[in-house]
Point group: C2
Chain length 201, copies 2
């Protein structure tokens, strides 16, 4: 999350993964900061590095030589990046590193499968509800959640238009499931987690 991986401008962020102990690999993992809105890598660029969030999930790992999507930082974020060839070299000898990569990739696949279900069969309201539930870990103790993405980014992620996302949020507000801080809808207050959960069955 917080990195937008898309075919063209703006699309689907990546899942959260478990903390991978890639540290076993003796590959110098450089930390790198990206500001909101900057491109981490571009479509068709050589896929020489793989990237890891602080949260632990990886992205940018390809079978082929080139990236197939563009990755853009949604918010200011720090990623670790490792040279792909060196990591592959380590993985060839250290099975635990390879297994670690496998687990993280399986986790990514799992998220993708869930997301396909969402894109194939859910209504706009259900999609937005599912999105908010995915954002749940970002909820502060006060019950306030600052949405990290613009309506457009959310819409791309959910396969909707930004207007439809906006309408869905307004609708959830009207249903008493959501509140807003101030008059804007950037800071969201979760009022009824139970009914929200019911929306994405």
């Amino acid at each position: 999350m917080f990195v937008n991986v898309s075919a063209h401008p703006g699309s689907k962020p990546k899942p959260l993964g478990q903390l991978g102990e890639l540290s076993r690999a003796r590959v110098i993992p450089s930390e790198f900061k990206y500001n909101r809105g900057t491109e981490i890598f571009g479509e068709t660029e050589p896929a020489d590095y793989i990237y890891q969030h602080l949260a632990g999930d990886i992205f940018g790992l390809e079978n082929g030589a080139a990236h197939r999507f563009t990755a853009e930082a949604i918010v200011d974020t720090t990623v670790r990046l490792m040279k792909r060839c060196s990591l592959e070299h380590v993985a060839e000898t250290d099975a635990l590193v390879a297994l670690d990569l496998l687990n993280m990739t399986t986790s990514n696949l799992r998220h993708a499968e869930d997301h396909m279900l969402l894109l194939g069969r859910k209504t706009s309201l259900e999609r937005v509800a599912a999105f908010l539930r995915e954002m749940d870990p970002r909820l502060t103790a006060a019950g306030v959640m600052a949405l990290p993405m613009s309506r457009r980014d959310i819409a791309d992620y959910l396969g909707l238009t930004l207007e439809t996302v906006s309408r869905a949020l307004s609708h959830l507000h009207g249903m008493g499931i959501l509140g807003f801080l101030g008059q804007t809808q950037r800071q969201i207050v979760l009022l009824d987690r139970v009914r929200l959960a019911e929306l994405d069955l």
Copy 2:
């Protein structure tokens, strides 16, 4: 492909992968035949095995203990199945086996990412065109393609209804891109591959 992996009845098949040399693993890979319509594994069942098509791609590999989808044989098919725990044991020591699993999983992820794009942004005509192009390897020398799945299965895969799939095929027929053998639309003749390709940009 030819195995339907779904959350409930009927949904998305799996991608084609490269031939994985899992044979390195000294795990007895039993072959098993499934008839059209039979269930290979069920949702929430323990994920004790992983499965491999003759084509080479794997499915049923989970991080958790249970399967999250149902897999059903679309056509009569033979799969190799390996005990997960033994394979994991081998992968822990043999980095090349682990890398092989990683490559196949990355390939699955790649297909899933492409499919998300399709589900998120494409029209019914584009989806059906993309589906036919995915089926292209099944084309016989005579230019005839026997669709392996019912309209319902195609529809579930593409996030559409069976009626919409049927209409799209009729439409492609009307456009002169597709022909039919006999009066039915089970055996398809690809008349204009170029224009079909243009439809899924």
